[in-house]
């Protein structure tokens, strides 16, 4: 059977993940948490938010692993989050992104099935216009990528999968 074609594959640097769950509060949680992280100049590389029918919300985000302790401390500080909000965190995760996803549901299904068969977990998923990103264990990223390479046909001139450049936001303000 012919393999499904994909345009490419990309792996993130080592990240950590936070899952925050709780009831709606007067201040939107996504706004509150992003403000807390902005104050520490922490970039969120992945974020999903969903407001459920019962006013129960979940915000999941991934940041650089080296910001794990600082972020845990900020979130656990009294008054940082609305009362009753639950914080779960996980270190050493990575994001694997596939381009493009013309057959998004089939790609999603094949990866869910094949990773589960190899005991590779999925901690989060988000799509953009032409990509689908999966959060998994950083330690299992090589194994997860091998599964994808076996499942799909990739371009022969594929760019490196692992990141070669780390971006850092300077404090220099560019004036218009």
């Amino acid at each position: 059977m012919e393999k499904l074609k994909i345009g490419g594959l990309k792996q993130s640097l080592e990240l950590c993940q936070f899952d925050l769950r709780g009831l709606n509060s007067s201040e939107e949680i996504a706004s509150k948490v992003s403000k807390l992280l902005l104050a520490q100049k922490i970039n969120m590389e992945f974020l999903t938010f969903y407001s459920q029918r019962n006013n129960y919300n979940q915000l999941t985000f991934c940041i650089s692993q080296d910001k794990f302790s600082a972020t845990s401390k900020i979130l656990k500080k009294e008054g940082s989050l609305p009362i009753g909000w639950e914080i779960n965190s996980r270190g050493q995760v990575g994001i694997i992104t596939i381009f493009p996803h013309q057959s998004a549901i089939m790609i999603l299904g094949l990866i869910m099935f094949s990773w589960a068969a190899q005991s590779i977990p999925i901690y989060g998923i988000a799509t953009s216009l032409s990509a689908i990103s999966f959060v998994t264990d950083y330690q299992l990223a090589d194994k997860a990528i091998k599964v994808i390479q076996d499942l799909f046909q990739m371009p022969e001139d594929h760019a490196p999968i692992k990141p070669e450049i780390r971006y850092h936001q300077s404090d220099i303000v560019k004036e218009d």
Partner: protein
């Protein structure tokens, strides 16, 4: 590894805002132990015709919850399919919702973009139903009636690159 510094813009640039109106949002969940079976169902040929405009999945307490946004007709069919699958629990169907999405230089590599987005919408009283930010893009799912106001607020907040 090479490190490149990205300057801070006084007003964050985007490449513009795009909308996808009149979608159906479907939320469903399945136990983590059943993810392999659900994956097998999703990889069936008959679902290949579906073109979801937005997917997120979040793990929570031994289960994984999915949110899909699809054109309404596809959404109805997908919802009906999910009802037949014993392993998944359809929990919500909302129609109509709209998506507004945007990306910009170094989105994903720099801090402050999520705060600028969520704070401006929150201040304007616009409730976000769902959001997914990955691969340098920001996707927001809103009630259909909020989309004009959201674009207006975001256009005032971000600079649209010409």
């Amino acid at each position: 590894m090479e490190t490149i510094a990205v300057y801070w813009e006084s007003r964050i640039k985007t490449y513009g805002f795009q909308r996808i109106p009149d979608l159906a949002l479907i939320e469903f969940s399945c136990p983590l132990s059943d993810i392999k079976s659900l994956g097998e169902i999703f990889s069936q040929d008959y679902l290949e015709i579906l073109r979801p405009k937005f997917i997120i999945a979040q793990e929570a307490v031994h289960k994984i919850s999915f949110v899909f946004c699809l054109p309404n007709k596809e959404g109805k069919d997908f919802h009906a399919t999910l009802k037949k699958i014993s392993r998944s629990t359809p929990e919500r169907y909302i129609h109509p919702v709209s998506i507004i999405f945007f990306h910009g230089p170094h989105f994903g590599d720099r801090y402050g973009i999520a705060d600028t987005t969520f704070s401006s919408l929150s201040k304007a009283g616009i409730k976000i139903i769902a959001s997914g930010c990955s691969s340098a893009s920001v996707f927001l799912v809103l009630a259909q009636h909020d989309i004009d106001k959201a674009e207006e607020i975001l256009s005032e907040t971000f600079e649209v690159a010409r």
